[in-house]
């Protein structure tokens, strides 16, 4: 299982032809207390680099950009009642959705952890 990153501060973890998507530790820290995540609908189609949802903290709101093109096969329903999961475990229990990739080669174009860290510094 490989995890890659985007310059929009999202991570994508590969399992077969599906990626799990969330926001990074860095992004969660920058946002502060997350209060709401607007999740995509299951079955909806995402287009790489296009907005697929928003994430709200007390004082700000950010768009979520799709790291890959594909269909949403699962969403993290726990975030509806407990958006704080994004702060507590952004790279784990705070995941946002799972996307079945339409074009698996897109995953390879994402940033490696080392390259992503350079952006954050």
């Amino acid at each position: 299982m490989t995890t890659k990153f985007t310059k929009e501060h999202e991570w994508a973890k590969l399992e077969g032809d599906t990626v799990t998507v969330g926001i990074t530790d860095y992004a969660a820290h920058q946002l502060g207390d997350v209060v709401f995540v607007e999740l995509p609908a299951k079955g909806s189609k995402l287009q790489k680099d296009k907005v697929f949802g928003t994430i709200e903290s007390v004082k700000t709101v950010s768009d979520l950009f799709a790291p890959v093109t594909g269909e949403v096969v699962a969403v993290n329903g726990n975030l509806e009642n407990n958006p704080a999961l994004v702060n507590e475990e952004p790279m784990g229990a705070g995941w946002i959705c799972k996307v079945k990739m339409a074009n698996p080669s897109e995953f390879d174009q994402l940033l490696s952890e080392a390259d992503y860290k350079k952006i954050c510094d």
Binding site: D33, V35, F36, E56, V58, K59, A84
Partner: protein, 483 residues
């Protein structure tokens, strides 16, 4: 002890107000209204008159207000609200007239409106005004509809509006509501609009440029003449956000600077009370070539009588269900009468004096990102306190312990850890001195005892509130509290 909610003071059967006894024969409503439309439950509280008076009086004492102390909120113009204006707004001839009364019974009201329109047109250098918009953001929307109507008539294909990165949040929100795409223009190192950036982004599809002058940094943009020519060169319109008019009344006028459309905030510049967040009034002024597009009804005078004219073919249409927030307008009218031309000019003069007096002293303690004379407000950065782990938010909260309101914080967004101060002309030197001492004491405290700031406020009715839980599990209705 916190004040209980009005619902917790309920006692079934108690009455707070007695109506006159019914003096006509009564019917059974059930015989006249189908039963599914008859009210079943009505979950309202029941209290005595004294309980109601005490409840709200106690609550009022938990507020900071202009009447209690200094309120240096930048861009909000928290000047003194003269008491006599409240009396004027309560004159029966203004407060107790129905909006649908025959015109001949409201001639005084219409005369007041027309006179105020003319006065505001004079102050702003515009040719015609509407008093209808109920607030600044509403005025903005109205102004942009006028802009759109103009371009439509001209046959112009316009899709974009330019806004500087220091603009108010309502500017882009209003633009996108009327369907314009927002182009952000950068500020230069003097805090003015970066003309090169504007030129690079200017194109024939630009409908207009929307700015405040002085800007939200409190700085006057000397290049305004050139900006006007540039925008007009593509048949764009120059839009003036009047939030900062208190800096320039009687010194210069938006109309003379080349602006085509202006909106004002009477609750800022013309001292109508903020009321805890409203009501306000957001009149819009335009140059002659845009007059036909103003919302209706328009107040007109035919030499004998005042009338409300609704048949204006090119008008954008009404933006409110009435002529405007009438009693707010009455207060502004009274304010202008007392001040006259000289008083308004002095108001701006002393507002600018007070701001510069504060800036000259506070820049020794806090970082001043743009070191030049300001107008009625100025922006400092709290970033020098970061070394102690202290943020601008902490400074703001600590000020509350000293009995002052905080400045506007984290706006404008182009200054890191920003604090925006607007003292207004109605504050005395003594008040400003006390406030600045507090600011200096807080800076010392940041170095010596930063926890005092991080824990502040300590002396207010409540301390820092858990905003995250408030937003995650909204408790916004007494009848449906989250578990």
């Amino acid at each position: 002890m916190a004040e209980p909610l009005i619902f917790d003071l309920n006692k079934d059967g108690r009455r707070g107000y007695a109506l006159p006894a019914l003096d006509v024969p009564a019917l059974d409503p059930a015989d006249h209204i189908p039963s599914r439309f008859l009210r079943q439950e009505l979950p309202l509280p029941s209290l005595s008159e004294l309980e109601v008076v005490r409840h709200f009086t106690r609550l009022s004492r938990l507020n900071h207000s202009v009447d209690i102390g200094f309120y240096p909120l930048g861009s909000c113009t928290m000047k003194y609200n003269p008491k006599v204006n409240e009396n004027m707004a309560r004159l029966p001839g203004f407060a107790h007239i129905h909006p649908q009364q025959p015109e001949e019974t409201v001639q005084g009201a219409l005369e007041m409106l027309k006179t105020l329109e003319d006065q505001l047109a004079e102050v702003t250098g515009m040719d015609a005004m509407t008093l209808q918009p109920a607030a600044g953001a509403h005025g903005e929307m109205t102004g942009l509809l006028i802009m759109k109507a103009y371009h439509k008539k001209q046959g112009n294909h316009k899709t974009k509006i330019m806004i500087p990165d220091s603009g108010h949040g309502t500017n882009p929100a209003s633009c996108s509501m009327v369907g314009y795409e927002v182009i952000n223009v950068k500020s230069n190192d003097r805090g003015s609009i970066d003309i090169e950036d504007l030129k690079a982004k200017l194109s024939p599809d630009v409908a207009g440029l929307m700015i405040t002058n002085p800007s939200t940094l409190g700085l006057f943009d000397e290049n305004i003449g050139e900006l006007a020519s540039l925008i007009h060169s593509v048949d764009g319109l120059l839009y003036y956000d009047g939030a900062n008019l208190n800096a320039i009344m009687g010194w210069t006028r938006p109309g003379d600077m080349g602006f085509d459309i202006v909106h004002l905030n009477l609750h800022k510049t013309f001292s109508t009370p903020h009321g805890g967040g409203g009501p306000g009034a957001g009149p819009v002024g335009v140059k002659k070539h845009l007059e036909a597009f103003l919302p209706n009804p328009r107040v007109v005078f035919d030499g004998k009588k005042y009338k409300l004219q609704t048949k204006c073919r090119e008008s954008v249409g009404p933006v409110l269900g009435s002529v405007g927030n009438f009693l707010v307008l009455v207060r502004a009218f009274a304010y202008i009468m007392v001040n006259g031309s000289e008083g308004l000019k002095n108001s701006s003069a002393y507002a600018v004096l007070n701001a510069n007096y504060m800036m000259a002293r506070l820049k020794k303690t806090y970082h001043l990102p743009y070191d030049r004379f300001c107008k009625h407000e100025f922006v400092l950065s709290g970033k020098s306190l970061a070394q102690y782990g202290v943020k601008t938010l902490d400074v703001a909260k600590r000020l509350l312990d000293f009995g002052f309101h905080a400045p506007t914080i984290y706006f404008p967004m182009i200054v890191e850890e920003s604090m925006m101060f607007e003292p207004t002309e109605t504050e005395s030197k003594g008040t400003l001195d006390c406030f600045m001492e507090a600011m200096e004491m807080i800076a010392r405290e940041a170095a010596e005892n930063p926890d005092n700031l991080k824990n502040a406020p300590l002396k207010t009715p409540v301390r820092r509130l858990d905003e995250a839980t408030a937003a995650r599990k909204p408790d916004i209705n007494y009848f449906q509290r989250p578990e």
